[in-house]
Amino acid sequence: MKKLLIFPLTCLLLLTGCALPGTESKASSCQFFAMDTIMSITAYGSSADGAMVAAQQEINRLEALFSRTRDDSDISKLNAAAGSGQAVTLDPETVSLLDFARDYAPWFDITIAPVMDAWGFTKDSNRVPSQEELNRLLPLVDASRLEVDADRSVAQLPQAGMAVDLGGVAKGYAGDRAVAILAEHGITSAILALGGNITALGTKPDGSAWNVAVKDPKDTSKYICVIPLVNKTAATSGGYERYFVENGVTYHHIIDPTTGYPANSGLLSVTVVADESKKADLLSTYCFVLGADRALDAWRTWTDGTELILVKTDGTVLITEGLEEGLDFQGKERGYECQIVRR
C-alpha cells in the first residue's frame, strides 16, 4: 500500500512548489501624482503595501526639497538668494544632487531655468522668446558658476536672475531613493514608473526580467522595441510629448542650453539604461542635446554598463551593444532600421 501512494504523494510534493495567485506572488500597486507627473509602483511580497506607502512618502519628501514652485523648498531658497552674496544652507541631499548634476554642463545645465521660463514651459503659457531676450538670458545659464560646498552643505548662485531647476534629474533621484526604501522593507521584486522613467528592482517573481517597452516617438501607441530590465532604470527624453506649435513651427521642451532654442540634434528620442536612476534620467536629456555622434562618443568612454537607444529623425535606431541580448525590435514594420553599435 505504501508503494501505491509514493507516486501520487511525490506529485503533490512537487505541486507545493507552484505559487497560486493570491499567495506570495501577489502584486500590490499604487498610483499617485508627484513631481508634476504621474507615478506608479507595483511591488510583490507580503510587506509590499507598507513599503509602497514609505516609498511614496520619500518621494513627497524629496519633492518638498527640490520643487521650484514651492516657496519653502531648498531650490526656491537657493534661487531667491541668487546674487545676494549669501551662501544658502541646504539639505545635504540637495547639495549632493546639485554637485552631481552640474558636472554635465553645458549640454545639460541645471541653471537653464531663466530660459525655460522665457519659453513658458514651466509656467503653462508657451511663447517663442525673441533672440534679444534669449541673448540677455543665456549668460545667466552657466552651471559652472554655481558654487557648491558639500562639507558646509551650502550652495550659492553668484548673479541675480540665475535660477536652478532640477526637473531633469529629480525624478531620477527619487527613483533611486524609492527603490532603496522598498529594499529596506524587504521587497526584492518591484517595478516603478516615475513619469517615463521605468526602474526595475530585481526580477519578476518568477525570476525572469521585466519587459520594458520604448515608445515609438512618431506613434506613441506603438513600441520601437522591448528590452529586458533587471536592477536598472530606463529613462527617455524626446520632443514628441511636450511641445507647442506657433505659426506652423513646432517647438519642443528640450532646450539646448548653448543656444536657448529647442535642441535640433537629429534625434527624435533618447533612451538611457543605467544602474542609477538619476544617471539614466539626466543622461537622456544630455544625449538628446548632444546628438547621436557625440552621444556615442561619450558612451564609448563609459565603463559602468550604461547603454543607449537613439532614435534618429531619418528612421535609424542606434542601439548600443549591451542591450542586444534579449532585444525585441518592433520598429521595422513602421520603417525604422535597427543598428547595433559596438565599441
Binding site: L4, F7, P8, C11, L15, C18, L20, P21, Q31, F33, D36, T37, I38, T42, D124, S125, N126, I191, A193, G196, N197, I198, A200, K204, W210, N211, V212, A213, V214, K215, P217, D219, T220, S221, Y223, V226, L229, A234, A235, T236, G238, Y240, E241, R242, Y243, F244, S269, T271
Partner: protein, 135 residues
C-alpha cells in the same frame, strides 16, 4: 523476493497506473487554469479624475464612436472613444500634452492630463506582455 512483481517488471499498465496518469492530467489542467493570468481579451478604457472613476468604455465591443465632455475640471476637455481606441480630442489646458499623445489602443496605454489630474488607462487584452513603458 515479493510474490507480486514491481511496476518496472510489468509490461501492461494496470488500472492503478491509469488512475495516476489521470490524476496528473487533472492536476496539470487545474493548475494551468488557476495560474492563467487574469485579464481576458476585452480592452477597457477607464477615465479617472483625482482617482475617481468618471467613465468606462468597453473598447473591444464599442460599435459607434462616443464623445465625453468633461467640464467639472479646471480645464474642460473632450474625450473620444472609438472601437479599439481612445484619445483626448481637445482640451482647454495650456500645454495640450494630453492631446498630443493621440490615440491609445493597447493594454497598459495611458493618457495623463496633469493640470486636471485626469487619467485615461487602457487595461485588459491578454496579449500584453510589457511590464513598463518608457517615453
Amino acid at each position: 523476493m515479493n510474490a507480486r512483481s514491481s511496476a518496472a517488471d510489468r509490461t501492461r499498465p494496470t488500472l492503478l497506473d491509469g488512475a495516476v496518469v489521470l490524476f496528473i492530467v487533472v492536476a496539470a489542467v487545474a493548475l494551468f487554469i488557476a495560474l492563467k493570468p487574469a485579464g481576458g481579451s476585452v480592452l477597457t478604457a477607464t477615465v479617472t479624475v483625482d482617482g475617481q472613476v468618471i467613465a468606462q468604455y468597453d473598447l473591444t465591443h464599442l460599435t459607434e464612436p462616443e464623445t465625453l465632455e468633461v467640464s467639472d475640471v479646471p480645464y474642460p476637455l473632450v474625450i473620444r472613444a472609438e472601437p479599439g481606441r481612445i484619445r483626448v480630442e481637445k482640451s482647454s489646458c495650456p500645454d495640450n500634452d494630453c492631446v498630443h499623445i493621440g490615440w491609445i489602443s493597447s493594454a497598459g496605454g495611458q493618457i495623463i492630463c496633469l493640470p486636471n489630474r485626469l487619467i485615461i488607462s487602457v487595461t485588459g487584452s491578454s496579449e500584453s506582455t510589457v511590464d513598463g513603458v518608457t517615453g
